[in-house]
Symmetry: C4
Subunit: 234 residues, 4 copies
């Protein structure tokens, strides 16, 4: 069942390790198959060097039930499910505790577009999602984590594929993209831009949003209708 | 004698290197066998790339005597022994001079729970253990190092498995856990949370303890009686 | 066509990865053949681990047309072309978003010669090139990026081989050299000196230009007419 | 000639790379044979991945002449020679531009003993050696670099094997030890302690010298007449 997607999700999870975004088992990537209404996600707490495609867990978008797999899915599975349901354009999700993006999450500091590295991936300021209330934590914590992200995007008028990441306050980043691999690339970009921000602010505490025309140029040359970065897809 | 435990302790020591927690020979891991009253520890000052299971030293909990092994045990062996005697729940101990946790030790700064990465491993603020007096240093230095940790935990009412680490002032961190491997994982978590703290405080000097309901949720979903993180153990 | 140069440019691009100067596909190196009026550059957006010599794209200096190659050249190709045209002494160009040099670019902070590591490569302060106007961004953005660098060097009276790098404001660094490999070495030197500057300024906010006689000594013992660093070239 | 020493010096140079203390060709290690009055040093500007034992250059302590070897010795050879002549107890020397130790050199900040990692290797504050005058730079620069280190140690009453490192102002660190390998270990310790210092001072600007009784304990348990760290040498 969904063997190709399992391979992609495995590969995306392993890329997290190669890119230095996870320590121990602190991270998970999933990918969705919109047609079948199923998504594939890493099992919970399994060491990356032992991870195989057959360990991937298949979960129903409709009710969150495990459809295939012998292992428990990631404990963050309900967060992924809400995001897939509410952000219909996205195809993959990455959650990590990568060091620099987690610093911004813990500090509750949003990441303005300080340069073109950021503009190549995120069309504006990456937001901080509010902390959950005691009630939201007590019941359906992971589902409410996803709902708070969705609420933030609705309130700020953000489009998920234009702003494919958010910092969860006191917690860590979530990133997403057109597919599993793309969500990992956005998680990498977020981590690097977060690291750059620490040094940029050390050097110049007033360094914030770059001029709008540069942000638009870089975002659109890579993601706009006339994008000319990379190779044309057949 | 204790061949399985030697393998585990060797593996845990090598994980220290893979995780970047040691340079040169600055670290050691041990594991205890409560039934026989013996613990197994790395030899002193031996390079990690030459370390084999047969180099591991077996030490008596009762009197600290070397029971098996041709090499001197780690010079920190008396510290490990005190911790095993006074913290009867723990099964493994890790001592390193990992860079970021050592910064907090040197600065004498305790680590509050700034985020869920911390809450997943440490149930509150990781304490700083006081410096030793000239008398405590002059005689039985390594034993007194362990006693100061125990004294700190008694005074602050901390339970060793809920707070599996401490910063020794002017020195470096100690971590422990249910077994040798678990103690290394806690040492990794301490190092990463220490690094995150430096950036978090740079971004927001007021960032300290996260709300209590989030700390409890994360700690308990992983370690509480109804934990649901990871795979059920058979 | 230009098989040796393609091999050199491939090797220089791969060195970027080994030296930790690129993440994902954020970087490109080119090398020029002055005799034929052609330069060889990395294709756009191709993963480094899949890069082969035959993927390299051959571009005409005269008109920027692709002369050989099945893939699109780097989107930064027009910037390279301007630099080759205006800086006739240089033989290779490297563009990266390496973390520390990008921090200085984002902060808009020039890098004074704080020590001999810098003096060994850069004969004075590495400049920040001004941001482009909306008009310059709207049309021929990448060409105008190169023109702004050239304008900066003309205004400051800098010689390209004595100052083989610049920070593009809000963007990232460009470096160049006698050939492709040399441009990568200068990019490495810029990255390391940028990292050193962050710590140097943290320790001593007044640390700036080293005494002129030390700067001259180090630059000239490596690059002057009586240079005695390294091995004599046959 | 001196084949064993060449192997040791090669191995020590390669350890620099493995330990992350050099980029490009910015570092060199030498080892001395006191009996023959010769020392062996890395050739100048040769890439580490191409370095073989037969490339090592043999130099006379008495007059600095190359006694064996087809390549130019490191441009820092005269500095090594002065140190061997003036510090008769040392057997190996390491010079690098390692990032964190170079930050302290550039900032002109001495490194106090902030913790036991430092005390295990350096018996007090690692000094900053003054900058050279224009006259000292103009003639015999590298020899005068060594003389300034020796002058600093005489003025501060430091013993080379108790304080096996120094920061050259505006330049970078030098370290030494009983032999080539030992000098690299001290260079590693200096780099790590320098990195720790940046974080320690960020967390606590008043963190300086640890209590004297802890410094002495750690230094002497490893280097004193009754040292008990490591394995007894046969």
């Amino acid at each position: 069942m969904l063997e190709d997607l399992k391979d992609q999700v495995l590969e995306a999870n392993l890329m997290l390790v190669r890119e230095g975004l996870v320590r121990l088992t602190w991270g998970n990537v999933s990918g969705v198959d919109r047609e079948s209404g199923l998504f594939v996600i890493k099992p919970s707490g399994v060491a990356y060097d032992k991870l195989r495609a057959e360990h991937m867990v298949v979960v129903s978008l409709a009710d969150g039930a495990v459809v295939e797999g012998d292992l428990n899915p990631s404990s963050d599975t309900p967060t992924h499910r809400v995001l897939y349901q509410e952000f219909p354009d996205i195809g993959g999700i990455t959650h990590t505790h990568s060091v620099y993006a987690t610093m911004l999450s813990q500090a509750g500091v949003a990441l303005p577009c300080q340069g073109t590295t950021h503009a190549d991936h995120f069309y504006g300021t990456v937001p901080v999602v509010r902390e959950l209330t005691p009630e939201e934590v007590a019941e359906d914590y992971e589902t409410n984590t996803g709902r708070a992200i969705v609420e933030c995007f609705r309130e700020q008028g953000l489009k998920p594929l234009e702003m494919p990441a958010a910092f969860q306050k006191h917690h860590a980043p979530f990133a997403w993209g057109k597919n599993a691999l793309d969500s990992v690339k956005n998680a990498v970009a977020l981590e690097v831009c977060s690291q750059m921000a620490l040094g940029t602010w050390q050097l110049n505490p007033d360094a914030n949003e770059i001029p709008r025309h540069i942000l638009e140029k870089h975002y659109l040359r890579k993601h706009g209708p006339n994008a000319y970065y990379g190779q044309k897809k057949a």
